[in-house]
């Protein structure tokens, strides 16, 4: 049933693969030269060998090609380099995965606005799970305290900090909605952001040039930019990482909610859904007619935010 969309995804990748061999050869030559150069530096022993190893790895990382065009070996190699760089630069032992999406899976999310009490456990869990910048207080998930009468988060207060829930107010959460027709994907000049076959919209941080056109294009404020180098205290770094997800970012690149790709591809709930104490968040496979998310879509009155823009988000709101 969804083979058509899979084919579309494939065709997109094939279209990107024009001149693949010449580009691949060019980049291969560069990275061979890079590897040889860094190896010779290490052998030659000029400077501290750890420092030159680090520089050699960074050199190879700089010249790597677009993630979607890498072979499985190249993907594994870049993951290994990044794990080693994390060890050299920060002294941490990271397990980075590049797990591919499961077939016949399309992630969907539902948010119960009758149940959310504004506790913001989801916001905090996401910050910890995804290694978000503590200095800039980046938060992928935002909760709005709403007065009754409007179902529009733009009318709500996103900066509340008092005892919740307040009588006669309700709470709505927003985050990246992983649109099927995402304006951010259309806007990116380098194809650094794309939609994976399992529906999540991801960013390859190493490919992003930081033009912020996607941030301007998103109607839901789903994306964040690293204005400075993100800071996470070493003991709080989540070491279970995914290349497309919560690995450590650098200044000058975009980032966003990835439905916790490092968790969901292992079958776990995303951190926000797992942390919610009131059970307001439902997550699952939209292509499984027996899933909880499908039950919600079938039996509850659901709506999506700014539906009239045609972005086809995969995040619904419902009420009891």
């Amino acid at each position: 049933m969804d083979s058509r969309t899979n084919n579309e995804d494939q065709i997109e990748t094939e279209g990107m693969a024009d001149n693949k061999s010449s580009r691949r050869q060019f980049l291969k030559k560069m990275s061979i030269a890079a590897a040889a150069g860094s190896a010779s530096l290490v052998v030659g022993g000029c400077g501290g060998s750890l420092k030159t190893e680090e520089m050699g790895l960074k050199w190879e990382e700089y010249f790597k090609e677009h993630y979607r065009l890498m072979t499985q070996e190249e993907k594994d190699a870049t993951v290994k380099r990044l794990e080693r760089l994390a060890k050299l630069e920060r002294g941490i032992d990271v397990q980075m995965s590049n797990q591919e999406p499961h077939e016949q899976v399309l992630y969907g999310y539902a948010f119960n606005i009758s149940r959310c009490k504004g506790y913001m456990d989801c916001v905090e869990a996401c910050v910890k799970e995804n290694n978000l910048d503590r200095r800039a207080k980046t938060q992928y998930v935002r909760i709005f305290e709403m007065d009754p009468g409007k179902l529009d988060p733009t009318a709500g207060d996103g900066q509340f900090f008092h005892e919740v829930p307040v009588d006669n107010k309700f709470y709505m959460g927003v985050q990246c909605f992983h649109c099927e027709n995402a304006p951010c994907i259309k806007a990116c000049p380098t194809k650094a952001t794309w939609r994976e076959p399992d529906g999540i919209v991801v960013v390859d941080y190493d490919w992003c040039i930081g033009c912020r056109y996607c941030l301007a294009a998103c109607p839901y404020w789903g994306r964040r930019f690293n204005w400075g180098d993100p800071e996470v205290p070493k003991e709080e770094i989540n070491l279970n990482q995914h290349y497309l997800g919560n690995r450590m970012r650098m200044k000058g690149v975009m980032e966003k909610c990835t439905f916790c790709v490092q968790r969901t591809r292992k079958g776990k709930l995303p951190a926000c859904a797992d942390a919610c104490p009131t059970g307001s968040r439902v997550f699952g496979n939209l292509l499984d007619p027996n899933s909880e998310i499908r039950f919600v879509l079938k039996n509850k009155k659901v709506f999506r935010f700014k539906e009239d823009l045609g972005t086809e988000p995969k995040f619904w709101y419902f009420m009891d």
């Binding site: 049933m1 969804d2 058509r4 969309t5 579309e8 499961h102 899976v105 399309l106 969907g108 539902a110 119960n112 149940r115 009490k117 504004g118 506790y119 913001m120 916001v123 905090e124 910050v127 207080k137 938060q139 909760i143 996103g158 900066q159 509340f160 900090f161 008092h162 005892e163 919740v164 829930p165 099927e180 259309k186 969901t264 292992k266 079958g267 776990k268 709930l269 797992d274 104490p277 059970g279 439902v282 699952g284 496979n285 292509l287 499984d288 007619p289 027996n290 899933s291 909880e292 998310i293 499908r294 039950f295 919600v296 879509l297 039996n299 086809e312 988000p313 995969k314 419902f318 009891d320």
Partner: protein, 197 residues
């Protein structure tokens, strides 16, 4: 050539609007074959105690978190029996720590509306049928039948840890204190910055 460029802009705009034409709703409605989420092989390591639910959901059987291992003084019949019992810390043992606030206004529930007077190891419904503590949803659902229907389907309550693999859900009392079910008022876990700092 520049004119052609301008024309191409229009064409590409139209084309990219038409691409991705199948909407999410259509795609979902076409997906009618059940998905075997057991194939997500990593989704099974749960160390909590579960029981098989006595009712089914749209995908068949599922498991519920056990409750009896969470109740510190179960088995109740250890004290509640025919034999006299010597009691130290009487206030504590006579359930003085239970604050009962289940119901609105003057329509509060009393203890024996849920707990069986005959056999304290079980709950009881209005017809006198005994209900196991591990399957408390059968009792709660007698009044809260809408929530129970939603809980069975997945729109109420919470699935434990995984979206794939075997379905393990929390029981009613995992989240709601049965004696005082409403969620407490408390400070949020964090706050969001004023953004023009």
């Amino acid at each position: 050539m520049a004119l052609a460029a301008v024309v191409l802009v229009d064409q590409s705009a139209v084309a990219s609007g038409a691409a991705g034409a199948e909407s999410v709703t259509d795609r979902i409605n076409h997906a009618t074959e059940p998905y075997d989420s057991m194939r997500v092989s990593t989704a099974y390591e749960l160390s909590v105690k579960t029981v098989q639910s006595k009712e089914q959901y749209q995908g068949g059987d599922f498991k519920v978190l056990a409750r009896k291992d969470q109740i510190s003084r179960f088995r109740c019949s250890v004290c509640h029996n025919d034999k006299p019992v010597l009691i130290q810390n009487g206030a504590l043992f006579t359930h003085g720590d239970v604050k009962l606030n289940h119901g609105l206004g003057n329509n509060q529930l009393t203890c024996n509306e849920c707990h069986s007077m005959g056999n304290r190891d079980f709950l009881v419904d209005k017809e006198g049928q005994k209900i196991d503590f591990d399957h408390s949803y059968q009792l709660c659902g007698k009044c809260h039948f809408r929530q129970k229907r939603d809980w069975l389907g997945g729109a109420h309550g919470k699935r434990e840890a995984y979206w794939a693999g075997e379905r393990v859900v929390r029981n009613c009392t995992s989240c709601h204190n049965p004696h005082s079910p409403a969620f407490a008022t408390k400070m949020p876990a964090t706050y969001s910055l004023p953004l023009d700092e």
